[in-house]
């Protein structure tokens, strides 16, 4: 068990900078997920921690020791790959014990560890099979087993669930969480799936263009995103961004979306945004759940307006609605009984207590 620290880590391929100076502190026992779109540098970062890629500049420390020039086998890490990377000619037990056999562990010890890991992952009856006789989910378990038996300082997961179907992915997500609760090994997990990131992580690291956009707990990122990228990346359906500007109407701060639509800001928000220039181009960030059907009794900060829906998507528990506002498509979530239908009008309400205001030019959340 160990903490992992990255200091100004840079990775350059010829003239392309894949990772542009990353600082990251991962505490002992922590489960950290690196998430971002493809090409954001998350896998490269993981591979640098593993030692499979050299770092161009900066320092990587595992357990307080700088490991920049330490080969992978001496870093005491275990890695789970997207395509499982099981050795096809070995049985499950041989796959899991390969690392221990290379290190000449006593046979009894190897057997104990393999049995224990197999029990934990519920693959006891599979230990004598070859990988090709296993399903995708079972292979993934074996790959995890191979990591667990080594009892390493750090687990590294590189998009381990991407090759599984949706249902199995949900199941394996829970399995991974359970395993981490049992073994408590420091874990760095890479995924492009924000749901995976949110559900698994103690802390999520959102990456984009080789940089860290924001680090925080899943709830923190969801409710207090720092940038437009994070606000749009975390959450599904994604947050709506509406061009807007601030306006003073009868001494009260309003947010104007269109010529027809302007909402008074609730007092707490008005105080926060008071100092902003009135002509600055801004974006109103609203999550779909904060655009709902209008209630009969209005509440403070919840402002009604009328819209004509383009499309509705009944999900059972709720109905997703899509409408156009000043050329931008907006998504909202309404009660299935709210009377939403394709092409029909509906009185909606926005919850400005949960709004975000962004600078359109910089993308920073204000």
């Amino acid at each position: 068990m160990a903490d992992v620290t990255l200091r100004k880590v840079i990775k350059r391929y010829d003239d392309v900078e894949a990772v542009r100076g990353i600082d990251l502190d991962i505490a002992d026992h922590e489960f950290v997920v690196l998430v971002g779109p493809s090409g954001c540098g998350k896998s490269t970062t993981l591979r640098m921690i593993a030692g499979l890629e050299d770092i161009t500049d900066g320092d990587i420390m595992i357990g307080g020791d700088v490991v920049n020039d330490v080969p992978p086998k001496d870093r005491d890490i275990a890695m789970v790959f997207q395509n499982y990377a099981l050795y096809p000619h070995m049985t499950v037990a041989e796959n899991m014990s390969f690392g221990l056999r290379l290190k000449h562990y006593p046979k009894a010890e190897i057997k104990t560890r393999v049995d224990e890991a197999a029990r934990m992952l519920d693959i006891v009856e599979l230990v004598d099979r070859k990988p090709k006789q296993l399903s995708g989910g079972q292979r993934q378990r074996v790959a995890m087993g191979r990591a667990i038996v080594r009892n390493p300082k750090v687990f590294l997961f590189d998009e381990p669930l991407s090759n599984l179907d949706a249902k199995l992915r949900v199941q394996m997500r829970i399995e991974i969480k359970k395993v981490h609760q049992k073994v408590r090994t420091t874990t760095v997990y890479v995924t492009h799936d924000q749901v995976e990131a949110m559900t698994l992580a103690d802390r999520v690291v959102v990456m984009n263009h080789g940089r860290i956009e924001q680090i925080g707990t899943p709830n923190d990122l969801y409710h207090n995103p720092a940038t437009r990228f994070v606000a749009g990346f975390i959450g599904s359906p994604a947050m709506n961004f509406l061009p807007c500007r601030l306006e003073d109407v009868a001494g009260q701060l309003h947010i104007r979306l269109t010529d027809r639509i302007a909402f008074p800001l609730p007092p707490a928000r008005a105080a926060r945004y008071h100092g902003l220039a009135r002509n600055e181009k801004l974006l109103l960030g609203l999550r779909p759940e904060h655009i709902t059907e209008a209630k009969v009794h209005p509440e403070p900060g919840i402002e009604p307006f009328d819209a004509v829906l383009d499309v509705t998507e009944p999900m059972g528990m709720e109905t997703l609605i899509y409408f156009t506002l000043e050329g931008a498509q907006v998504c909202g979530r309404v009660n299935p009984n709210a009377g939403a239908r394709d092409g029909g009008p509906l009185r909606l309400a926005v919850d400005l207590n949960n709004m975000h205001l962004l600078n359109e030019a910089t993308g920073a959340v204000i």
Binding site: I77, A78, L86
Partner: protein, 304 residues
Amino acid sequence: MASTIVIDKAAPTRNVKYGSMSRDRTWALRWSYFFLGLFAIFSLVPPLYMLITSLKGSAEISAATNPWWVFHPTLSNYIELLTSNQYLRFFLNSAMVSVFVVTITMLISVPAAFALARMRFWGSATLATGVFLTYLIPDSLLFIPLFKMFAVIGDWTGIQLINRWYVLLFIYPTLTVPFCTWIMIGYFASIPKELDEAAIIDGASWFQTLTRIFIPVALPGLIAATIFAFTQSWAQFLYPLVFTTSTDQQVLPVGIITTLIKGDVFNWGQIMTGALLGAAPPLIIYAFLMDYYIAGLTAGATKG
């Protein structure tokens, strides 16, 4: 007649004829079998003729009878050859050369292919192409310079290699190593990158990754390469003809020609028998390892 119509109406209408696709397929299959049959006859007639001739005595071979039939079958050719020390010597020389060449080839080409396919050092791609290009130089171009080279080595060091069967152990690998390396590069390249990364993280060295992961996983390719190297060295003719002259140093293909053809006298019965017996080892090996050979070649071809 009327009842037929009623039945037709009751049953769901369905076209029982083959579609145009399957008709095309049928014709394609017929043509395939026609040409495959032609090809089989073409390639099987010579060995059959060899077998027939090997069972005849000299008198019957030179007699003007039906050459495709044995009237007085005899095993005398077989008995004479298999009791002749000379022929057995050729056989032994061929076997020794082939086994050693296969071993040498594998010891060089497998690590070479692994290094070229995986270790990604500066110039590795160019070197890999270069290895293949050396295979394209025909032996008829090389044998004179090679002969000169060994002669010079003999003059300088006093180590006489010409007219020794083991000189072939230096020469054959110039043919087998490039081709086997090329096959193995293709095969190793088809192994997912993550597999060696997993092995490296598990603590394996490059050498352990090769011996414990790559060689077992690429076994079909390895067998294909082995068969190729064996067939190449077993059937070599030009090099042993040039480099070995004494009968006790000669290998089978050369030995048959030099000892069974005396001036303009061709001992056809024994020549055919000798060739037939000489073809047996590769034939047996192919029969057992055919599936591996094909699997190995195609994998190397499509993913190399």
